[in-house]
């Protein structure tokens, strides 16, 4: 049996007396389309930070393709194929789209320490960056600065940077957050077209997107996994309706 693409064992994170992550054991099979939902303050962001190595867990372990990566920092996990997007855009405001993506592709290909040849001479890097930009339908703005683009398109750059890493596991932290409805179509299409061998964990508030995209859903409440099942079961589960969906319909 092949190892799960990503799994955690009894992950705990406490801040002082507060338990932000409570004994979370999560398993993502290779190629999974897994969603993580939960009300505000459920500990989704903390869990993402534990998975990516921004935070060190109080107890428990994180495994990437069966390998224990708990002691590895963020950039080392990225090099092992774990990429993420951020809930709030973290982009390079004054770089053009092409420069941003070329940077990310170049770093993955290991040219980031080259000091003597110009960026414009990195043929393979530029070609790959160009293909990625075309795939994300950003070709028309390739030479525009990130800061000059609408938020919806900046969201696509966020995803392009993560894809440039060629991840085996991709964490999408609320990819639709802040995107106006009329711009979100391109985003959803992009997510639907991601290759099937890529394992994806989607952290999302937008229930439409979750139920359209995910094949399994984990519900996080107060730092612990309340339940994990298929979208159909989760949608009709009384506990979930109570803590999450009920709340969501009130707001809607």
């Amino acid at each position: 049996m092949t190892a799960p693409a990503l799994h955690t064992r009894n992950l705990v994170k406490t801040f002082g007396g507060f338990t932000a992550t409570d004994d979370v054991s999560l398993t993502l099979a290779p190629g999974a389309r897994h969603a993580l939902i939960g009300p505000n303050g459920a500990g989704k962001t903390t869990l993402v930070n534990l998975l990516t190595g921004v935070l060190a867990p109080t107890a428990g372990a994180v495994f990437l393709a069966g390998e224990d990566v708990t002691g590895l920092g963020q950039h080392r996990r990225v090099r092992r194929g774990l990429a993420r997007t951020f809930q709030i855009n973290r982009l390079f405001a004054d770089l053009t789209v092409l420069e941003s993506v070329a940077l990310a592709v170049g770093e993955r290909r290991g040219v980031g320490w080259r000091v003597w040849s110009p960026v414009g001479a990195q043929g393979e890097v530029l070609d790959e960056a160009a293909r990625l930009i075309e795939t994300l339908r950003l070709a028309d703005v390739a030479h525009r600065r990130t800061r000059d683009l609408a938020y919806g398109r900046q969201r696509l750059i966020e995803i392009a940077l993560a894809l440039a890493v060629r991840p085996r596991v991709l964490l999408l932290d609320e990819p639709a957050a802040g995107v106006p409805t009329r711009e979100s179509r391109a985003l959803f299409e992009t997510l639907a077209e991601l290759p099937r061998d890529m394992t994806i964990l989607l952290i999302e508030h937008d229930m439409d997107l979750v139920f359209r995209f995910a094949e399994r859903i984990s519900v996080l409440v107060s730092g612990a996994v309340l339940l994990e099942d298929t979208p159909d079961v989760v949608a009709t589960h009384p506990l979930v309706r109570e803590v999450y969906l009920g709340e969501a319909t009130h707001h809607a």
């Binding site: 963020q74 080259r114 414009g120 930009i133 683009l149 609408a150 938020y151 398109r153 993560a162």
Partner: protein, 350 residues
């Protein structure tokens, strides 16, 4: 942290998407980006023109060239890598003393050898200080840089046997450059020497900032938190930039020693660190020509204002600086920017 400015929440002109979008990316503009452009040539004609037009002021012009190298070194550290420092004179001073001691104590007066030696010692100083400086961020980091500068100043002050303390280091004699050109009384050799070193270091810096490494420095300056998510170790990149900046500063210091054949303890002074920061901000940090233009404008202003008003010139310089940072946020080069972008757009969008 957040790269989004509030106004970008509203749909930009690209959201309209009225015209069909091009499906492929044109790589030509990026391939062209590192090519030299004609205004650059104009800038480099200035030192040639100065040679003929201001033959009486070669000593001052040599100082400008040396300061420009120093400003360039700060630009790599601050303008590109985003490390804010008020202790950059530490490396200038280390280079100045290294070159001075090599000549005065060891009797090795070959200028180029002296430059190499000073560069190596300053690089080592950069390497040693990098972990301490890069450990903190923001204000902590700034304090550490000031602290390092003060410690070195005091060390040079106390080690009078070696450095001459406040009296300065004397007895520095230079042999001719490459055995061909000796330093003359009118400062002609010194001027050409300084300008050539500036040009060489500038061309190297130009190459570096256009490289993938240079791109990564600009990127981590804009958003350090994003870089680890791309698999980049931020500390290693910053340390490399820090050492590079230290090396450049050391060469500038060595040039001052060699062209004046004297080392004053001022080379390590806090004022020198503050002044070079002013110069860079004035010219525009984060662009190589900002360092050059800033130096030329600052030293010229200094010279002219001190001539007009020997007593209160610092007040006038302060006024000009406040005016520039208030009205041209990114310095003189930043003020030119919008026009440049307009030109570039006209070229790519016929």
């Amino acid at each position: 942290m957040d790269s989004r400015s509030p106004d970008s929440l509203s749909p930009g002109p690209d959201a309209a998407a009225a015209t069909p979008a091009p499906a492929t990316v044109d790589l030509a503009p990026l391939r062209r980006a590192a090519r030299p452009r004609w205004p650059e040539l104009a800038v480099w004609l200035l030192p040639v023109a100065a040679w003929f037009l201001l033959p009486e002021d070669l000593a001052l012009l040599t100082q400008i060239a040396i300061m420009a190298i120093f400003a360039l070194s700060l630009d790599l550290v601050l303008g590109y890598a985003g490390i804010v420092t008020l202790g950059h004179a530490a490396f200038f001073g280390v280079g100045a003393y290294a070159a001075g001691l090599l000549a005065a104590k060891l009797g090795i007066g070959d200028p180029l050898l002296g430059l190499l030696f000073a560069a190596a010692v300053a690089a080592l100083a950069g390497l040693v200080t990098a972990p301490t400086v890069l450990r903190g961020t923001g204000l902590t980091r700034l304090m550490v840089t000031i602290g390092i500068g003060m410690m070195l100043f005091e060390a040079a002050n106390k080690a009078t046997d070696l450095t001459g303390g406040v009296d300065g280091l004397q007895g520095i004699e230079m042999t001719p450059i490459l055995g061909l050109w000796s330093f003359d009384l009118w400062g002609k050799t010194a001027y050409v020497y300084a300008v050539v070193v500036l040009l060489v270091l500038f061309l190297i810096a130009r190459r570096i900032v256009h490289s993938p490494f240079g791109l990564s420095l600009r990127a981590l300056h804009m958003n350090p938190a994003r870089m680890p998510a791309l698999g980049v170790s931020v500390d290693a990149r910053l340390a490399a930039a820090w050492v590079l900046g230290a090396t450049y500063a050391g060469i500038a210091g060595a040039l001052l020693t060699q062209t004046t054949q004297f080392v004053s303890i001022d080379v390590l002074g806090f004022e020198r660190s503050a002044e070079i920061l002013l110069i860079l901000v004035l010219g525009g940090a984060g662009r190589l020509y900002g360092a050059l233009i800033g130096t030329i404008v600052f030293v010229t202003l200094h010279h002219v204002l001190a001539g007009i008003d020997p007593e209160y010139w610092q007040m006038w310089i302060g006024l000009v600086l406040i005016g520039i940072v208030l009205f041209a946020r990114n310095g003189i080069m930043g003020a030119i920017d919008p026009f440049e972008r307009l030109l570039a757009r006209k070229k790519t969008e016929p």
